[in-house]
C-alpha cells in the first residue's frame, strides 16, 4: 500500500547565540528563537509547540514550559509540551513534532530547544545531570555522565592503542569550523600546543575534550508542503528520515559498552527511510558531547571501522575518503553545548547548510545532511536525515 502520509518540511529556523548569556532568561531565549523561526517561515502560526529541555525544572526553577513559552511567544491557546530525553531532548522534541505533522494530526508544529545552564553553579549542573543516569545503579555509585564517558575513553584508548595526541584533532576541527559561525560560543581556532597544555578534568579528558555547557535556544518550524506560504525567499528542507531509539540505560547492562548501539540502529532506520546510506550524506552533525562521543558516533554510523574512529580526525586525507564533514558549524565542542537545545541547533545548522546560507561555513556540496542527538553515553539516540528541496518556493 502506498504511503499517503504527508511529507514533513522545515519552513522556518531561528537561533540565539550560544554562550554565557547572563542578561537573557529561559523565557527570553525561548521567545527569541520561536519568533525568529516563525518570521523565517513567512509567518506560519504553529498549532503545537514541542519544547526540548533537560534542566529547566531544577536549574531554572521552571517546569511547564509548554504553557510558559506559548504564552510568552504569543501562541495563545496552542498545544504545548516538553520532551525530555536528557541531552537528546532537542532531538526528541523534533521527533515528536515530526510524528505530529507526518500523522496529519497537526498542520504546523514548532520545535524549540531551550536551556539556561548558567543560572546555577557548575557543581550544581553536575549533580543535576547525574539524574539522567540510572539513579539506583549508576548515580548512587557516584558516576556522572562525563565521568562515565571518561571511563569509556580510558577503555577505548587501552583497547585500540590510541595515541593520546591524536584526540586533539576532534576539538581542533570543531574550533576551526566555529570560527565561521556567528552564533558559536568559541570562535577561536585551537592549536595543538594549547590542547596539550590544558589541564586534565577527568582522566583522560582535558578541558578541550568536553563540550562547554552553555545557554541557548534554537527553533525549527515544521509543516506540510502545501501550507508553506508563497514567496518564502529561502529554500525548503525536507525531513526525509527520523528515528529515536533507546538503549539500556545503565552502561553496565550493555554487552558492548564501547559501541553506541542505539546510535547505530537509529542511524540505520533514519537512513533507510530516506533511502540513503550514511556515507551518501554530504555532512554529519554528530553529538560531540565529549571526544569519546565524537569517535563512537562515527563508528556507530559506520563511517569508520570499529576501533578506528580516532584515526580519522588525524588523517585528513583518509577522513575525506572514508567519512563526512562533521561539526560544520563548530559542533557541541565549539558552538557550545546547550544541553536540551543542542539537538535543535543541529537541525538549524543543517538547514543553513542545505539552504546555502551557512556563510563562510558553507560546504561546497550540501544536499543531504544527517543530524544525531545523543543522551548520556548513548542511552537515547535521535537521528534525522534532512534533504535540500531543489525547487525554491
Amino acid at each position: 500500500m502506498a504511503d499517503t502520509r504527508p511529507e514533513v518540511y522545515i519552513a522556518g529556523i531561528g537561533q540565539t547565540n550560544v554562550g554565557e548569556l547572563w542578561s537573557l532568561s529561559l523565557r527570553d531565549l525561548g521567545v527569541k528563537a520561536i519568533r525568529a523561526a516563525i518570521k523565517d517561515s513567512g509567518g506560519l502560526q504553529p498549532q503545537a509547540l514541542f519544547v526540548g529541555n533537560m534542566l529547566a525544572a531544577s536549574a531554572s526553577h521552571q517546569a511547564n514550559l509548554g504553557a510558559l513559552l506559548c504564552e510568552w511567544a504569543g501562541l495563545k491557546g496552542a498545544e504545548g509540551t516538553t520532551a525530555e530525553a536528557a541531552d537528546a531532548s532537542g532531538g526528541a522534541a523534533l521527533r515528536l513534532a515530526y510524528t505530529a505533522i507526518r500523522s496529519g494530526i497537526v498542520d504546523v508544529a514548532l520545535v524549540i530547544g531551550v536551556e539556561k545552564a548558567t543560572d546555577v553553579l557548575d557543581s550544581d549542573i553536575d549533580s543535576l545531570s547525574v539524574r539522567t543516569l540510572d539513579s539506583d545503579y549508576e548515580a548512587a555509585e557516584g558516576l556522572t555522565p562525563i565521568g562515565q564517558a571518561a571511563l569509556l575513553m580510558q577503555r577505548y584508548i587501552y583497547e585500540n592503542q590510541v595515541e593520546r595526541e591524536a584526540l586533539a584533532a576532534f576539538p581542533m576541527l570543531a574550533h576551526a569550523n566555529a570560527v565561521h559561525n556567528p552564533h558559536a560560543m568559541y570562535r577561536k581556532p585551537l592549536t595543538l600546543e594549547t590542547y596539550l597544555k590544558a589541564g586534565i578534568l577527568t582522566e583522560p579528558f582535558n578541558l578541550y575534550d568536553i563540550a562547554p555547557l552553555a545557554d541557548g535556544a534554537a527553533a525549527v518550524l515544521l509543516t506540510r508542503r502545501e501550507l508553506v506560504p508563497e514567496g518564502l525567499g529561502h529554500p525548503l528542507v525536507r525531513v526525509a528520515g527520523s528515528s529515536l531509539v533507546t538503549d539500556r540505560l545503565a552502561l553496565h547492562d550493555r554487552s558492548d559498552p564501547l559501541f553506541f548501539d542505539a546510535a547505530a540502529v537509529s542511524m540505520q532506520r533514519a537512513c533507510q527511510q530516506a533511502g540513503i546510506t550514511p556515507a551518501q550524506a554530504d555532512f554529519f552533525e554528530y553529538a560531540d558531547i565529549t571526544t569519546l562521543h565524537a569517535i563512537l558516533s562515527l563508528e556507530a554510523a559506520g563511517l569508520s571501522p570499529r576501533g578506528q574512529g580516532w584515526r580519522l580526525a588525524r588523517d585528513h586525507a583518509q577522513w575525506q575518503k572514508e567519512s563526512l564533514p562533521v561539526a560544520t558549524m563548530g559542533g557541541y565542542k565549539a558552538r557550545g553545548n546547550p544541553l536540551g537545545a543542542a539537538g535543535v541547533y543541529q537541525a538549524v545548522e543543517a538547514c543553513l547548510q542545505l539552504r546555502g546560507e551557512a556563510g563562510d561555513a558553507q560546504l561546497p556540496q550540501a544536499h543531504i545532511g544527517i543530524i544525531q542527538a545523543l543522551a548520556g553515553t548513548g542511552s537515547t539516540a535521535v537521528t534525522h536525515v534532512l534533504m535540500q528541496v531543489e525547487e525554491t518556493n
Binding site: 554565557e20 547572563w22 553553579l121
Partner: protein, 363 residues
C-alpha cells in the same frame, strides 16, 4: 538629539567634586609577614601547579585582625601626614572581615591611634570596595568643610573556603588614607565617580563562615562590567585618555582580571606594574586597590597622574583621578613602604595556615 556639548555636560555632572578641593595628606600600608604559596594550597587539594591565580598570598598571624592591622596602617598614614591624631574628624574602616559583627572596628582604631572622642567613627561594608567608599565619604566630609581630616581605611583578613578557588587568593592586608585640604595634600583627588548595580556575584550571609560566589558570573557581568563602566565614564567625563596617566591601579582579585581590564581600557603593562601586588600578596579584598595605590605613591613623583578603580561585589566600582603633588617627596620616607612590608616574608605551610586562620577545631 543631544548635542555633544550637552552630553559632555551631563557626563561631567556624574563626577563627584567637592566645593573645597581635597587630597591625600598621608597614607600607610600594612601587609602581615606570613606567606602561603599557591603551590602549597594546590598540593593539599591535589590540583596541578598550572594556571594558579597568584604566586602566594599574605596571611595574618595569630595575634592579628582587621583592627590591629588597621592601627598599624593608620599609624603609618599619620607619620606621613604629620598631623596630630586629635585633628581627625572621622575614623572609618572598610572591611568584610571586621572582628565583630556588632561593635565597630573604627572606635578601637580611633582610640589606639590617639584620636579624640569628638569624631565620626564606624565601619563600612561593600565587599571589596568598602575602603574606597570610606574615602569617598571622607572627601565629602572634608570637601564640605565639616571636618579638616578624615581617616579612611580598607583592610581585610579575607575568608576563602578551604578547597574553593578563592582560597588561593583570599589574603590579609590593606592601607589607610588621611583625606585633608588640597593645599596640604601629597596627592590631590581631582574627581571620583561610582557605578553600582544589583549584581549578585559574591556574598556571605549572616552567620556563614565563608563567602559564596557565582563562579564565572563574577567575571564578565560583574568585575569587568563595573570596572570598565566606572573607569570609562571617569575618563570620558574628565577628558583624560589612558596615555595621560602615569599609573593605573584596579581591584585585583587575581593576576589576570586587572591585566585584562587594563588592556581593554588602553593601559600598558608598564602603567599597572607598580600597583599590581596580587601575585605576591594575594587579594586583600577591601585593601586590594588601596594597597596597590600605596605602592604607587611610594615611588610616584610630583605631577604624576593616577587612575584608581576599585571593585566590590554586589556590585560596584569607585574610580578616582589622583594627581601627585610636591609634598610627596618628603613624606614617602616617613614610614615603611609597601614593598618593605612585602619584603618581610616568612613562608608558612598549609598546616600553619589553618592554625593561624582558626580552621582547626580545638574545643
Amino acid at each position: 538629539m543631544m548635542s555633544e556639548h550637552e552630553h559632555q555636560r551631563d557626563i561631567e555632572n556624574l563626577l563627584l567634586r567637592p566645593e573645597r578641593p581635597v587630597g591625600i595628606i598621608g597614607y600607610g600600608a600594612y601587609v602581615p609577614r606570613y606567606r602561603l604559596p599557591a603551590k602549597e594550597i594546590a598540593r593539599i587539594w591535589g590540583a596541578g601547579d598550572e594556571g594558579l591565580p597568584v604566586i602566594e598570598k599574605a596571611v595574618a598571624g595569630l595575634d592579628e585582625d582587621v583592627i590591629t592591622m588597621s592601627i598599624e596602617a593608620a599609624r603609618n598614614a599619620l607619620k606621613r601626614a604629620g598631623i596630630d591624631p586629635r585633628e581627625l574628624r572621622a575614623v572609618w574602616v572598610g572591611s568584610e572581615s571586621h572582628p565583630y559583627a556588632v561593635k565597630p572596628s573604627g572606635t578601637v582604631v580611633a582610640e589606639a591611634i590617639g584620636a579624640s572622642p569628638h569624631i565620626q567613627a564606624g565601619d563600612w561594608e561593600f565587599a571589596c570596595k568598602a575602603g574606597t567608599e570610606a574615602i569617598v565619604a571622607g572627601i565629602g566630609l572634608v570637601g564640605s568643610g565639616m571636618g579638616k581630616y578624615a581617616l579612611a581605611i580598607g583592610m581585610d583578613t579575607a575568608q576563602g573556603k578551604p578547597g574553593d578557588a578563592l582560597e588561593y587568593t583570599a589574603s590579609s592586608g590593606g592601607a589607610a588614607y588621611i583625606i585633608g585640604p588640597a593645599e596640604e595634600a601629597l596627592a590631590t583627588i581631582e574627581a571620583t565617580y561610582s557605578y553600582v548595580t544589583d549584581t549578585p556575584d559574591f556574598w556571605r550571609r549572616e552567620h556563614a563562615v565563608y563567602p559564596e560566589h557565582g563562579q564565572r558570573f563574577t567575571g564578565e557581568p560583574a568585575y569587568f562590567q563595573h570596572v570598565t563602566s566606572a573607569a570609562r565614564t571617569m575618563m570620558e567625563a574628565t577628558g583624560l585618555k589612558a596615555a595621560d596617566f602615569t599609573y593605573a591601579v584596579f581591584h585585583q582579585p587575581n593576576t589576570k582580571f586587572p591585566q585584562r581590564v587594563a588592556k581593554e581600557l588602553g593601559f600598558t603593562p608598564e602603567q599597572i606594574k607598580t600597583g599590581l601586588l596580587t601575585p605576591v600578596i594575594g587579594n586583600t579584598y577591601s585593601g586590594s586597590s588601596l594597597i596597590g595605590l600605596s605602592a604607587i605613591l611610594d615611588e610616584a613623583k610630583p605631577g604624576d597622574l593616577i587612575l584608581m578603580t576599585s571593585y566590590g561585589s554586589g556590585a560596584g566600582s569607585d574610580a578616582f583621578v589622583i594627581r601627585v603633588q610636591e609634598p610627596i617627596r618628603e613624606r614617602q620616607g616617613k614610614a615603611l613602604t609597601t614593598q618593605e612590608y612585602i619584603a618581610r616574608r616568612t613562608e608558612i605551610d598549609y598546616a600553619t595556615y589553618v592554625r593561624f586562620r582558626g580552621e582547626i577545631t580545638v574545643k
